[in-house]
Symmetry: C2
Subunit: 143 residues, 2 copies
Amino acid sequence: MTPRSCSVANALEIVGERWSLLALREVFFGNTRFDQIAANTGVSRDVLAARLKKLVTAGVLEKVQYSTHPPRHEYHLTESGRALHNVLLMLKEWGDQYVTEEPLPLVYEHSCGNVLEPRVVCASCGEEASLESLTRAPASAAS
Amino acid sequence: MTPRSCSVANALEIVGERWSLLALREVFFGNTRFDQIAANTGVSRDVLAARLKKLVTAGVLEKVQYSTHPPRHEYHLTESGRALHNVLLMLKEWGDQYVTEEPLPLVYEHSCGNVLEPRVVCASCGEEASLESLTRAPASAAS
DNA sequence: CCTCCTAAGTTGGCTTTCCAAACCCACCGT
DNA sequence: ACGGTGGGTTTGGAAAGCCAACTTAGGAGG
């Protein structure tokens, strides 16, 4: 059988390799330079160079020059890249709840003043999109 | 510098390897047996065996025997595993919007009757948890 | 001028994973 | 006894990953 065609698989083609999401985490934290990303993630420099190149060609990051003479650049998020924040948020939430022991290294505060506890909801009705509340519909098949 | 301690990194230690999330996708789809997962994802059998073993020891999946005499088992989601559904949902959403071309292979219908368009919101106020609405707070620091 | 320093990678050498195909074992139906 | 199925393990070569050292291109200090 041929593997299932699926947006999860497509997404993982781009950001599913080791270090890609951690590099993106650093960019979300404002650490947009090569050495900062390398230091904060622990990725080896050659792999980081390869990952950044891939993320740039995939349109998730873009290289922005911040100094012409010693030519230096930072990596900035594109719209596509910013949209990945939700993925990192849910991954962090899962890690907080089921993996990380004890004191959470980081919490987010939402603009409402509370500590963020993220929930995934249906945009139409606002109710939680729990596993049980969902049914798979065969995309474009008329019933 | 030592790499940042972070729940995203911890989460990726468990589910960040290639094929782990795709294997879990299949289990969410109800394909809980080895050969089904192998066929639908395209992962090689030895890697799948290693990933499943890791997910079981990490408490994301559990082996459930469904036949004693030819001893056969299925892989079932634990609570921790079910909690990963949100991550897959957001990854699928990002893939749908920024990676997959053309007709989406799969859509979910929410119990409210509409096609699911997932949003991440703050549990306290219900407002969207957009990138701009969040500030990092230093975890356990008393203000 | 000579040397050291920083940023952003490259390069070389070694180790680990990955993958495909073959093999294995226990059972089942015929 | 013979082939088929389910759930893996083994094997051997290809690919990717890791680390340390090197490079390039321009400063800064002396």
